[in-house]
Symmetry: C2
Subunit: 342 residues, 2 copies
């Protein structure tokens, strides 16, 4: 009881949102915060640092750190870990009583959000797709993540791109009719009815014009449409191919002598394949019939990395405590915001 | 002999180059010229008009039109036929003694460059891919041509994109090794040797960085590499898929009651599939084993359209005369340029 517990600020800085938690060495969660995209590669350093700072301030609001030494920070981050980002984020967090800052790969955050084991695999399929083998708590081999133009088969972009191409082919008379056509026209607010040759030609012209005005990666917005009409043969064909591509990605990092769980993250897996009806899920889940552990983000894993960085043994019990604690405080905060009508 | 022959300026204004010929109603070719890209959609109206003007001046240099009435102009053109382009190109050509200007679809120019028949099919696979059914000398049904992001399966972009993705996958350890890797690294001047894990990682990083700095359509530059190493299983797989996609495109415009030749144009067909060794050509030519007539460009077809626009009957004999005459004068001009060291 007399022993002073160490406190940590742990952050998952994603492309869309940033999550921060304050945890202590017993696994207790003392605060939780959220902000917008905190990834410097996609949002730019200034925006990313601002988001990380905001999430940290929110997490701190619930905890009293007066008189304590600064709290060690672990940020789980995709993409390049630049000195410029580390310097600016350190300068932003120091006045709040946080530092020094350690930056870890987001894939390690995701992996450790799903397991206390130090060996295993992680497969993330969001807008992009990447897989990694984790050995001894470190990234041992990473495959994929080469972006929409050169890789990412099975990702949200890839599925959305196939959906767009299939609808263009259907309207052009080059591919089979599909339920995706109605959904995509509705999504981009084209009201022309494709129920005659002239209507199809007009809708096609409008659709092509709209989609070429987008940044290509925005086509990932169409990925959920394939899951929505997964009984449509065209949609199903796209999902089968995506599943095969993700299975191949995971196979590329498998090592015969390394066992361990498969942790799955990203919208295509969590909101897509894992949320699909059982029959579809069993048939399509791209993990070679092995079981997978889904994770929503990497904030629990960032806490695991923080505790381990100061030689705290995160065993199964402590890992469960961290996981339940972070979920409890995140829920409380969500309820609080809802209660205040925010 | 006393009958005065009508004279026409005929132009194929392509994305990469513009070809102009002056022909008379007997099929004789009186001049030939070449210039850069003359397509207003890709080059911009000003550049396109300049290219058309230059090609026309070169074609006129060899012929004497003093005292004659202005020569009718037919321009075969891909993409949108805008009033602005027609007005500006008319203003450019009028002082040279040419006008009025009729603009026709490039697909009709290509088709009539290959046959005197008025019914049949045309399949063009260059950077993009498009097919059309021609009936009664008019475009009856057109499929494809929806661009690199939304269509064009089997096109030069599509093949080059698959080549780039296959090499990225090979270097990343996600796909099989391929002879394309060496070719692509050489093409983009990466000298890092991919003969060790570290070398592969370094070459991959450089390649990804270079290719994302390109405009996506530039990936079509890699299409010839697949034909160069067509015995490589990865390259062959890409070519088989491209061939299937082009065969599907042609099928989409086929009508059971419309016979007629298949005219083939564009670099992927002319420089690729049709130039390949016999065994490959027979296996992969995407025309369902029917014979095809290759054409290099649409300038002969533009002449056919010009003569027919004034009710001249272009029968098989006249068509052959036009074709041989245009080829003869184009060769003479080429030899003349070579002789002058140009």
């Amino acid at each position: 009881m007399a022993e002073s517990k160490r406190v940590f600020l742990v952050i998952d800085a994603g492309g869309t949102s940033t999550r921060a938690a304050i945890v202590d060495s017993s696994g207790r969660c003392l605060g939780y915060g959220r902000a917008g995209g905190g990834n410097p590669t996609s949002a730019g350093i200034t925006s990313a640092v601002a988001a990380v700072g905001l999430a940290a301030e929110q997490a701190r609001a619930g905890s009293d750190s007066t008189g304590r030494p600064p709290h060690l920070v672990v940020i789980a981050l995709a993409g390049e870990n630049t000195a410029a980002f580390r310097e600016q984020v350190s300068a932003r967090l120091a006045p709040l009583g946080f530092g020094p800052v350690i930056v870890e790969p987001d894939l390690l955050g995701m992996f450790h959000s799903g397991t206390h084991h130090r060996d295993g695999y992680v497969l993330v399929a969001g807008t992009g797709a990447v897989a990694a083998r984790v050995a001894g708590g470190e990234l041992d081999h990473v495959v994929g993540g080469k972006g929409w133009l050169l890789g990412d088969a099975g990702s949200g972009f890839w599925i959305g791109h196939q959906v767009a191409r299939a609808v263009v082919a259907a309207l052009d008379g080059q591919g089979p009719a599909t339920a995706l056509t109605e959904l995509i026209l509705e999504t981009v607010a084209i009201t022309t009815q494709p129920d005659s040759p002239a209507g199809r030609a007009q809708a096609l012209k409008q659709l092509v014009s709209i989609l070429y005005s987008w940044r290509p990666v925005q086509l990932s917005e169409f990925a959920p449409l394939a899951f929505r009409v997964h009984e449509d043969p065209v949609a199903r064909g796209i999902l089968v191919a995506a599943s095969a591509a993700l299975a191949e990605l995971l196979s590329a990092v498998r090592a015969p002598n390394l066992a361990g769980p498969v942790i799955a993250g990203g919208g295509v897996l969590i909101g897509g394949f894992l949320a699909a009806p059982a029959a579809l899920r069993e048939q399509l889940l791209p993990t070679n019939n092995g079981s997978v552990i889904p994770v929503a983000d990497g904030v629990v894993g960032a806490a695991v990395l923080a505790l381990r960085s100061v030689e705290i043994d995160v065993d199964e019990t402590l890992w469960h405590t961290i996981q339940m604690e972070v979920a409890r405080v995140a829920r409380l905060r969500q309820a609080g915001r809802a209660g205040r009508g925010q």
